[in-house]
Point group: D2
Chain length 352, copies 4
């Protein structure tokens, strides 16, 4: 039985930083569960919130607890448990859809018009406990390791991006090898892609890209990466572009590397407008461009569970530090150095 208060990492004020506070345990509604957080992982979005950038200032309403990647054990359920039981080991889809809008009616729940994000729009998982609607709970298959269970949110982004079109027997470019880009490399390779080119400015991440399965990890600052990829594909370009950087240069290079008739799946979030030569990049090439957001609810969760159960994905190179919640300052500082890695918090005690 939980005590009356818990530790939580809070954005207490509308400014840079965060504070570890003792706050009351969340109260759950009839269709919610209370989950004791086992491990929580830090996302790029959490860094933005920590630093209180322009986006955060416009979206976040302090005081609030952030964090939206985690796994844990169900502590308590409400009156309508929807099959969720105390003791279940779970993760959760942190995007909560409205079920009413046109997108929800069309089965496109992940782009619901009224989407609320746990850890952004309401208290998240950088805490001992988190409150989750039971319909968003995802039970973890016993074959999946605990630390993998903590990063199913970003892994879902990667799986959604890769599997938004055909991938088997296709050549691929991944622009940007941050954590999700790196996962996308592993997923694409597991799903039968042929030659995969990654582009990434950070040498540490390029090394990781190779470890995750990239055939080549190219430095866009060195030589003409577009020329290189075109030459390596008989002048055609790759079949599939997975844009994971949000960086204007990478986006432009990505589209120039893409063959006519190819597919570009865009996940990377750019902080500025991007200028396209629509005609030569997209129209005359007959390209398909897919905006990718979140994860399909819950098709992507099924797919990644199956891939993980089948042992198709080795994500070990992504993991680095594991630490208690009170070392949050170290964690954010390490991540800022741009090393592609997932740091795990253990709010309820250290990992074995």
């Amino acid at each position: 039985m939980p005590t009356a208060t818990m530790k939580a990492l809070r954005k207490a004020h509308p400014q840079q930083g965060a504070e570890l506070e003792a706050i009351p345990l969340p109260k759950i509604a009839a269709d919610e569960a209370l989950v004791r957080v086992r491990a929580a992982s830090i996302c790029g979005t959490d860094l933005h919130i920590y630093h209180w950038d322009r986006w955060s200032a416009s979206r976040i309403h302090p005081p609030m607890t952030f964090g939206h990647e985690f796994c844990g054990v169900v502590e308590k359920v409400g009156e309508n448990p929807f099959g969720v039981k105390e003791g279940d080991f779970v993760s959760a889809e942190m995007h909560v859809n409205c079920s009413h809008c046109l997108q929800c009616r069309m089965g496109q729940f992940h782009i619901c018009k009224n989407l609320r994000v746990i850890g952004v729009d309401q208290d998240g998982c950088f805490a001992e406990f988190v409150r989750i609607p039971v319909r968003n709970i995802w039970k973890i298959d016993p074959a999946i390791p605990e630390h993998y269970a903590a990063i199913m949110d970003p892994l879902g982004n990667a799986v959604h991006t890769v599997l938004s079109g055909e991938i088997a027997g296709r050549t691929v470019a991944v622009t940007g090898a941050g954590p999700i880009g790196l996962m996308a490399i592993a997923v694409a390779k597991a799903c039968g892609c042929s030659t995969l080119f990654a582009t990434e400015v950070n040498p540490h991440r390029r090394a990781l890209a190779k470890k995750m399965g990239a055939d080549e990890a190219l430095d866009p600052a060195e030589g003409d990466v577009v020329r290189h990829v075109l030459d390596a594909t008989d002048g055609h370009g790759v079949d599939v572009l997975l844009e994971m950087s949000g960086h204007p240069t990478a986006i432009h290079q990505g589209f120039q590397m893409l063959r006519a008739g190819g597919r570009a799946s865009l996940l990377g979030v750019s902080s500025q407008p991007i200028t396209f030569d629509l005609v030569s990049d997209i129209i005359f090439k007959g390209v398909t461009v897919l905006g990718i957001y979140g994860r399909k609810m819950f098709e992507t969760w099924v797919q990644m569970t199956e891939l993980l159960k089948a042992g198709k994905l080795n994500l070990e190179p992504l993991f680095r530090e594991r630490m208690p919640l009170d070392r949050f300052a170290d964690a954010f500082s390490l991540l800022e150095k741009g090393q592609a890695s997932k740091i795990l918090f253990y709010p309820n005690g250290s990992p074995e």
Copy 2:
């Protein structure tokens, strides 16, 4: 039997204008047909060539005959006629693909890496006769009127654009009501779209848009057309954007009118780079963007033949003047006034 020379509208010199000349009849290769042109229609591309704009100067090699929309009667075939016979009433796919590149191997012939366009890269149909590879000949079903047969090239663009995704029971915005935009309105309506909003600055074209079946024809210069469309769709936006203008404002408005999860098919050719807010226009909305070029070879030809045979398309409002080839100056002058209409040349004598 044709005489030794024929009349042809020629871009004789790398400069504005055109000349009607007598030139030798084309000689056909083993796998080509000589077609006596019955009616030829003027495309926007022909206007660019006539005026010798920057694109023309870079692509066209005078002297050459232009024109790439037509119908006519087969006069002669080579040794490998591929089923084409003298006397066949035909039109033709004027994009000639290489059959060797990766796109051709994948069945995406319309975006062949080595595409050549008749009337652009070699002599076209503004002449008494035109030389066509037999594999590009399309026999016209007897149920299709002659003047419709002359515009199957642009109608194919419209059909390809509309049918590049789901359309039945979908709300639609068509940005730009030039000839192909107008055809797209008729096609979308024939294929079961629900409410269709057209945007167009030219009042004459707006009137035509209504005639072709648009539920509303909006003037972007007057009031907030984006707001209007959002309000008319319960705040969601339309399911499908058919971008037929190439104009930056129309493109931006189009994407703002498009609902999350919607489909944007882009055909309009813009003469300048377009700046996108990728995140809000495409990524977070989970939008599908399709670059559309030419017509599928020959799926689109089958589709439009069936739509025409079934009497689904009334294109009469699009047709205006019909004239002999020597009135070409009048024709180009009329078209520049921006009235959405197809003018037909009759190089071998006036229409009944």
Copy 3:
């Protein structure tokens, strides 16, 4: 406020027939609504239940109220109304999915492993009031006529069948012109199909098929309908087969009429096993066969709402008698004569 009891058409005993009884008003749960039935329509399934055939005997547990096609006005909602309000004019998806099974997780709610059908597995709408889960309520757009609202269940079957693949510019065969087959004809035509051949043994239904838009309504008992359709399609066969009969002969003829590479959507329920020459009917022809059940939740509801709002569907020829609930014996007797028509009950008083 409803009175304490209501009239309901009941399968009281496990035998042929039905009884009109006064029973207590349904009690609704927190996530249910009580709907006052305005009009209810009789389905073929209701005939089976009435006659107590083998399927009914194995599935239905008397006493129960049957009926599953209706429209009405919300009388009362529970504590979690999910946006449903008293006074809303509504219909409902009568297939209630579990939200937990693999199909539900994949977004294929209509083929949920644990599907329950209102009017089959629990009390239905042949009554003054019916109890419906709020998530299954569909609000009727004011542009849709009341009697159309009463048949959205079978119309949804038709829309789901037609739009399960491409239809615009495709030739079509509809085998079986019962009520749903007739609706499918109207839907296919509204969505741009080209030549449509219907086959049907009942002359009354053949006449209706023509009224609904079939280009030809063929009698399989007279002449070789397969030969006829092949001849009318240059020997290729039709692009799309919509199998709406469940009859072995019709199924065989349908597959023989279908071209190589075509699509067969099967909705008709056959009461016996069907023998296929898999190799020549399906494998060597590279055919796609789609089993169709129910309606997509709720994509099909959106699509049919849009088609109806846009005035694309004239279903008037389908409607015949309208009667109070106590004339149920007349109603079932009329329907058995095999006339393709929808009979409407008005449990709360006669229609204006």
Copy 4:
């Protein structure tokens, strides 16, 4: 320069058996190539021809040379070489399409209405030389081993079957582990499928199925394989059925193992009609059934080339004997024993 005659394995008379004869070298037309056969592989179809079964008696016109799986070196090309050159190391698509029929116009060349098969309808590759239309020649990437190049025809069947729908993260049943079934197992695993169940009566083939990557290789004669697969998939059944046997029992079991909403791709050719419970096997389950024939021209060739180049497929367990053409009786005899293996002929001399 070839000598005037060559050795060829001939079906000389309409009866069981074959004869090794010296026949004139094939004469090539303008759009054909003469290929010196390096290695040729025996297909099940060749066994049928050898034994002169009912199908052979109706289709084959002796005298003719059979064989349709091979690789070799281009010896000579005609006047229209279509990019094919002397010395090219090649395989070929042995299905020759007409380019004129509706399927060809729709890009579905592999199910052409007028398909001719080299080695069935005209002289094949069990000979020192074979004549091939240049458009059907497929140049072998240097990264692909010679013996793999000899079996790209059946490998293409397998790739076409597996990739006819989604496979990554899907559970799979493969019914029948003959050579193509075994290849399909390898391809499915390479393309990211999760748990894969094979069913096969022959113990030798079951062992191979495991070697190729099957998670379980089940004996349908022992225990209830349907029950086993359902239990292993939480009662749902598999996402994908790849039917490679053509055997009635396997087909029935396959459909019972398939989950609602699943995909069944049927390649196995059954020699008898198959009886379905359409309602429970296909309709109420909302299943998609795909007839699979041949290979997509040439998308499948691109896909398998990429998979082979990327080293995704280990097909070594499939290969057994390699022998000169004159040991054909031994070869056919070995294959009849039902051991899943590819035997290679070397008509121009023994392999190194």
